[in-house]
């Protein structure tokens, strides 16, 4: 399982594509925002937590369809399923997806927040919200990706399936970030966000494994 995790991490970092592109996409959306809503710092700082969360959500979504598609195409996934329980395969793949998107986005988010006039006091809550919330995005996304493995060019379908599932995470995550930026207490939404992430990490590999098993049959 650890070998699989390391392999996926290496693949993500070395081959052009997923890893760097997702982060670049995140940065580009944040940079485009002021052109759309105007450069006024007051308005930008009010929008910053929400924009950063939306951008993170889309960056995660963008890299999801690679999660199983390539390995399913060349038969690697079937081989992996023979050697490991499918739940463990999905757990390792989701974890490597999170390490290469969510975890890096959490580090990058507060930095890009500077561009959106995010107050300095809001940086720690934004970092915490992204760090603790993005695991839910990766693991829910793994379920969505396993549903669409059987669909050719399933990228658009994947976003229609996955985005509604992201709503609770987005609500709690953005609420942590915006309460933090406003200097309010954010422990309650942070606790709910963490609970959501933990629940998804625990349960989603099983749901995704059931879906993959049906597709591989």
């Amino acid at each position: 399982m650890i070998a699989l995790l390391l392999r996926d991490l290496r693949l993500a970092i070395r081959t052009g594509g997923g890893f760097g592109l997702g982060l670049a996409f995140f940065a580009v959306i944040v940079i485009m925002t002021p052109f759309a809503v105007g450069p006024s710092p007051a308005e930008l700082s009010a929008l910053a937590p929400g924009i950063l969360w939306l951008a993170a959500l889309l960056a995660v979504l963008l890299t999801l369809d690679r999660l199983f598609a390539l390995d399913a195409e060349d038969g690697t996934l079937e081989q992996l399923a023979l050697t490991l329980p499918l739940e463990a395969v999905i757990f390792a793949k989701s974890l490597s997806h999170w390490l290469t998107t969510g975890a890096v986005l959490a580090l990058l988010g507060p930095l890009l927040g500077i561009l959106l006039s995010l107050p300095v006091s809001g940086m720690l809550p934004l970092f915490l919200a992204l760090l603790l919330g993005t695991p839910a995005l990766s693991f829910i996304g793994a379920f969505g990706a396993s549903l669409t493995v059987a669909v050719k060019r399933g990228g658009l379908l994947l976003s229609l399936l996955v985005l509604p599932l992201y709503i609770p995470t987005l609500i709690f995550g953005a609420s942590v970030a915006s309460r933090g930026a406003a200097g309010l207490d954010y422990t309650q939404p942070l606790a709910l966000l963490s609970a959501l992430s933990l629940g998804c990490v625990a349960a989603m590999p099983f749901a995704a494994a059931a879906a993959l098993r049906a597709s591989l049959r």
């Binding site: 549903l147 609770p168 959501l196 059931a210």
Partner: protein, 241 residues
């Protein structure tokens, strides 16, 4: 005495639904018509809401069936995954567009009522938001059915989506309440407490309309499921050449 499950056998299913459907149509159309005509023409106006109160006779039953339609899909998904009864998967598939229609009717009638009463077509109120989210879940479910050509795989995957989706639909409902306090009034017919806020004058036609919508929903869903069963048979015949 037959076991209940045998009625999900396709041949028996076609048999009993064929016999039950005329009755369901009569009940559905008759009660809906009675409830609506009674509500629209034979009840007074509300002293605060005026005649806009009458939209309740469509809005509440549609909203009721929108939620119960999703619940039906959830139950059908469970039965399909546990017992592999092909008809239940088809019933789930048949119910989705009907449920989506009910959701849209609920949203549109709510907007038409909300404009004069709240002064806005739309507000990001938890109840309204949950309904919009419900519509998205219906859309995703329908899209997944359409995207996969292998019927058994499609039934499996959509069932899993329906089950996981139900969990997240409920989560979204409570998350939305956390996120924004509401504008929508509380439920008019709380089943748990029994403290109705609607007078009998309005409630009786409303209840009739609700029952009517229920039978209408069942009738349309069964017609659609029968069509699906027939489409399967045609495919099998074509495959035989």
């Amino acid at each position: 005495m037959r076991s209940l499950w045998e009625y999900a056998n396709p041949r028996l299913f076609m048999n009993w639904t064929g016999k039950a459907l005329p009755w369901l149509w009569v009940l559905g159309l008759g009660l809906t018509g009675l409830g609506l005509v009674w509500g629209f023409f034979f009840t007074g106006d509300d002293f605060r809401m005026g005649s806009t109160v009458k939209i309740i006779y469509i809005h509440v039953p549609a909203a009721l069936m929108a939620i119960n339609g999703y619940f039906l899909m959830f139950v059908a998904a469970l039965i399909w995954l546990i017992r592999r009864q092909p008809v239940t998967a088809l019933v789930g598939r048949a119910a989705a567009p009907v449920g989506l229609t009910m959701t849209v009717i609920g949203l549109v009638t709510g907007a038409i009522w909300g404009q004069p009463m709240w002064g806005t077509w739309w507000a990001w109120d938890p109840r309204l938001t949950s309904f919009l989210v419900l519509a998205l879940f219906y859309l995703g479910y329908i899209a997944l059915w359409e995207a996969i050509s292998d019927p058994e795989l499609a039934a499996d995957l959509t069932s899993m989506l329906a089950i996981v989706g139900s969990v997240f639909a409920v989560l979204s409902r409570y998350a939305a309440r956390f996120w924004n306090q509401g504008l929508h009034q509380g439920t008019s017919v709380p089943v748990a407490t029994g403290n109705r806020t609607v007078d009998d004058v309005f409630f009786i036609p409303l209840a009739i309309s609700m029952v009517g919508f229920f039978f209408l929903f069942v009738a349309i869903t069964l017609v659609r499921a029968r069509t699906e069963v027939r489409a399967r048979r045609v495919k099998v015949l074509e495959a035989k050449g």
